[in-house]
């Protein structure tokens, strides 16, 4: 057991030494959109009030072509950084999920548009290349 203590100490010191200057941060805007709630919206039947009870109030309301459009969004950003004495590298990757529900004049959903990109957000440190 006594042999393990110095070894554990060395490992801890090595891990701390290797990770010093590393920064990992993450930022989100809004709440993730629940896909089961989105799939519950049926074109031609679900009303505006039902959409609000399923997903909540929209982040934005847009009016276009005599339609009310509810816009829900969620942003996810991941940013690793390496802040060393010599060099600083930082990269931030931000992606968004967007849901649009188009309502007709009677307040019934006539189109649902949903796109999810945040699942492809990555912690990538190297700032060069693609």
């Amino acid at each position: 057991m006594l042999l393990f203590r110095p070894l554990a100490g060395i490992i801890v010191v090595l891990v701390l030494a290797l990770t010093q200057g590393c920064v990992v941060s993450r930022g989100t805007v809004g709440e993730p959109l629940q896909e089961d709630a989105i799939s519950a919206i049926k074109k031609g039947t679900t009303t505006m009030a039902e959409v609000v009870s399923l997903i909540g109030a929209p982040d934005r309301i847009v009016r276009g072509n005599d339609r009310e459009i509810f816009h829900y969004y969620y942003y996810d950003g991941k940013s690793p950084a390496m802040l060393l004495i010599l060099l600083n590298f930082m990269r931030m990757d931000v992606k968004s999920d967007n849901l649009y529900v188009f309502f007709n004049r009677n307040g019934v959903a006539e189109e649902v548009v949903y796109g999810k990109r945040t699942s492809r957000t990555e912690f990538r440190l190297w700032p060069f290349g693609d």
């Binding site: 004495i85 060099l87 931030m92």
Partner: protein, 160 residues
Amino acid sequence: MANAPVAQNSDCGPSVTNVAARFPSIRVIIGTLCLLLFFVGCSVRRVVFNEVVTPEQVSFIRIGQTTLPELVDRIGAPDEVTESEIGVVARYNWSDTKSAAVDFGAPGRLFLPYSPTMTLSKAGINPEQFQVVFDPQLTVRTYGFLRRNTDEPIVWFWPF
């Protein structure tokens, strides 16, 4: 006399050339340290927002035929939907921001308790947008790239 070999005096210890010859890895270490010293104070940052929409990705769009759901199936939901006088406009936004900086005061901080900051910095922000205008039936009326800059922002610190 100038080209005469340097006599070694064992009282003064081994010469520098002999130490380097005995430990070739010292040259590598010194070389690496010099190279690292060259990069002291350098900083590279990049912020990528959303995914790029390329002309190839939207080549399937046919004006008067392609609908909003078909567009969403291929390239995802737009980031913004607004109204214009000619119809609903869907906007796809993305950007790639690169910035680089050099702090010429940083090397001093390796040896001195205080060294002033002397930084040159440059940032290249490259926001781009793809717009699609729909008619009342949500069929594509027109589309185009708001700004298509083929010159990628480079990582360079000189601001002048």
